[in-house]
Symmetry: C2
Subunit: 412 residues, 2 copies
């Protein structure tokens, strides 16, 4: 089944909002056996929208849209679908009553222009929207399906998961595509390429290799009649990768470094503390992105000046002798916060975020120390001298190395 | 001049990468007098691409594309433009020599498939790419301009700014559109709406009002023959807004709360320290996003547990008496770090990030304290109970309120 996606709205075309709906939807279609062949961002312009629907119905089996279902005159998605199909929208009284109840429940009177949201054409049925006033449309005619959903991601995601995806799963009997993403750090792209070379260059399962901010990713993509047989194609490749690269693998699929370290610490009842300079709070903020981080994260110090490092326990002699940006200082930072907060592990990071050099050390140079009760691991990193890259790369690597160290020391 | 934008690449269609190029470009076109009417994301499929170019040339004066200019067989943008125009690409020897030199400079031999990047059709000329091997194409035929740029944002942004935008500025003599975005916090959308009501509902300049994570934004959009006369249309509206809402205005255009506070502190020679719990490092990380934050940010403590708060100077009696999440504790946190780091101002934040309640206080409740040498400002905030929203809203508001307090205390 071939699909296209429209993201509809003037503010998307003006670049005032970046469209995230289309990639969110696109990422979910391969597993349903649906192939996306086109994504369009279209303004609130009835002529353009009608043309887009008419053209899309010719070349695709399925059109999925978000946006343009609100109550205002600018919201023209319904009108465009009706126009492309040559059908006339009629107000549905029972939906008007639902809308009135929705507003009553909020102690408000329904504005008269919301009646627009109760319009329907003969080929369409409503898709329930629990989180807003704009119901979706599900239209079928001449072998093409058109699905219109509201634009706010909070409303759209719920509608997709509860209403649209289950219905599509029943309809589509094409091949499904399943993807497994294996994330590694510590071995170069070239070395990995050689180690698993016999799996490259095949059609199904397909193996891809990608260099990312959190290491080298290996992505296995398999197509088959159903999910179980596609998974069976993935399994031997995944096992071989694991056998040969196991110690470098730190996560899977959408997992982030902070999500990968969390369960490892929590299961073992271990705690973590941090003292960071050049990452400026990025490390602590990443760790606390994980919902149950309060179970293992004791806290962190963002020591943005050398004076602050000494206030929180780094010996001033260490800084004087080795410099604020040095391996010795990074290790002293980790030890200071390990002891101060009575944690099981601590990460210390000292480096140069820029824009200027510090102590004649270049932007992008950083020293990381990971300290446990017994061992100390020290790393010297050189990352591209761009602010956001520096923070992200260093924090990622520190968390991934911490995970490796914890797993090695307490195999769980 | 009417334009459309194509973002080209299989990984964009699969939802593996979110397209940010098209909104980046779209945001830059109105000021050039160019109106975007369509954005398409298209896969590496020569038939689809050729159709897209042919269709785009019919309905638009300008097509701008990113992606598909690499050296591999999957990179088909050049082939599609040639196909849509019925022209035959020919290898340009001097560009082959440039490519060979590019690889030599990196101690490598040019792979033979890179010759593809030296192809050109008669209607096209090359656009120089300083940061990569893929030169762009600038094609003009039958009154339509096609601009093809490489996909990596680092390469594309430089090409746009150095090569494309200056050339477009010369060509376009349509009306230009200028936007001025005024950011406020502390007054409700309804109250602002009333105060500047006479400016709404007009075509030119147009005034829009938007509720965002960092407050209420007022956006003035003016169209005119040139930038100076468009600015003249904006000026009286901006002045009126400033007169009536001045104390609530904290920033303009793309400015973030951390960018707005930076110069205010730096100009006055003042320093800042933070102690945060529920924002988990987000506040410190935001502050250090500003490149010269080292000039005024002394550092911060991410006190993720009550024990850590006391280690770093919050009296344990305060926590016992009022709770870890309380106004008294937030104020004590700010005072502890103000004194400990000898800063001029300090922010303390204590609240509930979730997923669970703390001390029977709900997720999304937070107490903020901003402390200077003299004054203390205390705020109780209730924000939507979603992790990323909580962190962002609270950090934004703390920085905006700090700015207001600093400006009031030292008018500069």
């Amino acid at each position: 089944m071939k699909a296209e996606i429209f993201s509809i709205g003037h503010e998307l075309l003006m670049g005032e909002l970046t469209d995230t709906n289309s990639s969110w939807i696109a990422a979910r279609l391969p597993a349903l056996g649906i192939q996306v062949q086109w994504v369009s961002i279209i303004g609130d312009d009835q002529r353009m929208l009608t043309e887009a629907f008419a053209r899309g119905m010719q070349r695709s089996d399925l059109i999925i849209t978000t946006g343009g279902l609100g109550p205002t005159q600018d919201d023209l998605t319904r009108e465009a679908v009706a126009g492309a199909l040559g059908e006339t929208p009629v107000v549905q009284d029972e939906v008007v009553r639902d809308l009135e109840r929705y507003f009553q429940g909020r102690g408000q009177v329904m504005p008269s222009h919301n009646v627009k949201q109760a319009l329907l054409i003969p080929s369409a049925s409503f898709i329930t929207n629990r989180n807003g006033t704009a119901p979706g449309w599900w239209t079928e005619r001449d072998g093409t399906i058109v699905i219109n959903m509201p634009g706010p991601p909070g409303e759209m995601h719920a509608i997709w998961e509860e209403e649209v995806e289950p219905k599509l799963l029943e309809l589509v009997d094409d091949e499904v595509t399943i993807t497994r993403n294996i994330k590694t750090m510590g071995m170069s792209e070239g070395a990995i390429d050689e180690i698993v070379s016999e799996f490259f260059g095949k059609e199904n399962p397909y193996l891809g290799i990608y260099s990312k901010a959190d290491g080298i990713h290996l992505r296995i993509i398999a197509r088959s009649a159903d999910a179980a047989s596609a998974s069976a194609l993935i399994k031997p490749v995944e096992e071989a990768i694991h056998e040969r690269l196991g110690e470098y693998v730190w996560g899977y699929d959408e997992e982030t470094p902070e999500q990968a370290i969390g369960p490892v610490l929590k299961e073992r009842g271990l705690t973590l503390a941090t003292m960071e300079s050049c990452t400026g709070g990025y490390l602590a903020n990443s760790i606390t992105e994980a919902p149950d981080s309060a179970d293992y994260f004791k806290g962190g110090v963002v020591a943005y000046t050398d004076a602050m490092k000494t206030v929180y326990g780094v010996p001033s002699e260490t800084i004087e002798k080795h410099g604020g940006v040095s391996q010795a200082t990074a290790t002293a930072m980790a030890k200071a916060v390990l002891e101060g907060l009575d944690a099981d592990y601590a990460i210390g990071i000292s480096g140069v975020l820029g824009p200027s050099e510090i102590e004649e050390k270049p932007v992008g140079l950083a020293y990381v120390a990971i300290v446990g009760a017994e061992a100390v691991q020290e790393l010297e990193l050189r990352v591209p001298p761009r602010r956001v890259v520096i923070k992200r790369r260093i924090a990622n690597q520190a968390l991934i190395e911490l995970r490796k160290m914890v797993v090695a020391e307490s195999p769980g």
